[in-house]
Amino acid sequence: MKVKSVLWAASLAVLAASPALAGKDNDTLVWSTSTEMDTPDLYYGNQREALINAYAQCDSLLHRDPKTNEYLPLLATSWKWLDDTTLEMELRKGVKFHDGTDFDAQDVADTLNHLAAPDSDMKIRVVVDWIKNVEVVDTHKIRIHSKAPTPAAFEYLSGTSPIYPSGHYQKAPEVPGADGKTRRDWGAVLPVCTGPYKIEDYQPGQSLTLVKNPDYFDGSPKGKPTIGKIVYRTIKDTETQVAELVTGGVDWIWGVPPENADMLNTMPNITVVSAPTMRMSFLALDAAGRTGKNPLTDVRVRRAIAHAIDREAIAKNLVGEGAAVQKSLCVPVQFGCETDVTQYDYNPEKAKQLLAEAGYPNGFGVQFYAYRDRPYSEAVINYLRAVGINAELQFLQWRALRPLIVDNKTPIAHLTFGSNGMLDASASTGHYFQFSPDDYARDEEVRGWLAKAEGTMDPTIRKELYSKALKKIADQAYYLPLFIYGRTYAFTSDLDYPLTDDEMAHFYMAKWK
């Protein structure tokens, strides 16, 4: 009898053990991706999950409306350029941090000055590297002094630059460093912000829970939060994510493979949608001859490669919903992204003709380096082989490929770039065409235009300069844009979810239906 009771109790316990309470009935939105968040502090992490969290938890000085891409007042209510390198901003009054302290100019200065310091160990420095220092004018007015004219300043100050209270980073633990020394682990401090949601719990590598901030200030362009709790969970396996979504353990997932998307589409309680992302896929061709004398230094060969690949077929049939052929070496949603540039249609005969003209009637052999999506790289290689270019795939992890790129070892590299979420053409062009170790084109003229565009405040002139640079990049086929990745989202039909083109999940704008 006793054994029977124990078994019965155990069975009940099994049945009672339910997964995380998700869904409309529990006012809890559970979202899941396969990536473990490295830190919720956006400045010290470079995962998109941290960016998504930062948008919901934190406020920056400005807010870029994800639908119109217009810069709106957030913690700064108004601003003006006093000269090309001084930006004065009036700050919002009556705003409180989640720990109850009042927000003021000192918080902005302390946060940005800490990060802009050369020893801040910040991960993607481009976001703050332009800042010389931030000066407090009065309790609610600051001046940002930049090192040089920075036309992308508003982009850097919106979304990706959350403001923390003064003294925030003083809580960073002292941890062992190299050679018996110690270092401060700045990214280990949990962010305290002013945003629509506040952190309730964080389990590194596992989950992060946000709860609604009932005191969120009126008049925020982000709007007042409506969903009570937002929980992030890492689930590595896509099949498991799908199973959790179907059974209501999770409310929102992305990166759904086409085969799962088709199945989920048949379910009435699940919504499946696709959208483009900011990640582009392209071939970096050694036009500059950094790997030594090679056929790719001839523009006819590079154009032949461009004509040899059916980018439309790869984007549609292989990459799937949401993906699109990339017209220029930038993402259309970025400021200055000129897409009216030379296009190369799929024409293998023309490719063969160009190769023959360049002195390679029977093609040639070349090493083809890749690291991310092997099937896509193999598809490209098959197209190249069809015109006689015998590309030999060297598929490596990023950390193994990166030193080869720097050491002039990659005649063709199949790369991807997400622009670090920046909606400005400088993010991609600046990374690849300004004579950095990533630059295999090394074109002085392009570099000059880009440098000028990055130092000019006039948007019209900037657009013209980016247009010139991107047109020449395309015309010379320095780098060959292939496609822009798409993402398929699947979420409970109870959710009114705002789909945007910036590859972001703006959960603070979501509502239950």
Partner: protein
Amino acid sequence: MREISRTPSKDMAYFILKRLCVTFLVIAVTSVVAFLLVHLSGDPAAAMAGEGATESDIAAVRQLYGFDRPLIVQYFDWIGRVLQGEFGRSYYLRMDVSDILAEHMPVTATLGVLALSFAMLLSIPLGVLAALNPNTLIDRIALWLAVAGQALPSFVFALGLMYLFGVYFRLLPISGGATWAHFIMPAVALGYYATPAIMRLTRSGMMDVLQSDHVRTARAYGLAPWRVVIRHGLRHAIIPVVSLAAVQLGFMLGGSIVIETIFSLKGLGYLAWESIQRADIEVIQAILLVIATTYAFLTLFADLLNAALDPRIRMS
């Protein structure tokens, strides 16, 4: 003649000393190999800085973590800290490695013990039944179960379980490790993989024992059949099974990447895999060292046990 002149306790002491030396050598070599493998497979700073990083971002990481120093200096810096009981810090999770291990090891240990228990509960009775009914339908079914366990990839079996009990019947939680119920499906999926070997060993052992003189004698005395099987048969047949189970447990304590990934259990296997992907060097090195040390000491323990039981081993 030399061995005969020694006393058993001297033999044992010599044997222990020899085995201890080998064990520490194995651990030392593993630590060097682990260190080299991680450092020579690419630029850890590039992985740590991320794909969007510029060369100066990567250079800053290289300097911050001391990757710009010669490998030998880095190795002795690391091993020096390990010898002081300091495993370092995960650059990615921003936690001390010892805390991360303390968090992940119980998950893997729970999964390993449950999986092995399931495997033994399933395979030993099956093995006994098969041995008692050789070449019958029961034997065939037991064999089929064993073959299925060997032939079926663990991820297929795991996903099948998940679909049936998680999605279709909705009886068990699908992912995570919050309650003991979360461990049922992973333990079954992992344990089933260990079933065939244990079942076959039990079956063959039982068949040998059942034909032995002492079992025949026990039967002749008119003892109850179950008593003959359990007390006089299984008791002897199970000795090699226990050895095998210990090896399987060692394997399971290393963590199962596939099972832990599918069921989103934050165990040691999952942690190792994730850390390799993101070049979280201090975590990888600590895991390899812990696993190597566990294996080395388990082997040492088994050797010592065998030597204590069988004098021929320690004499050889």
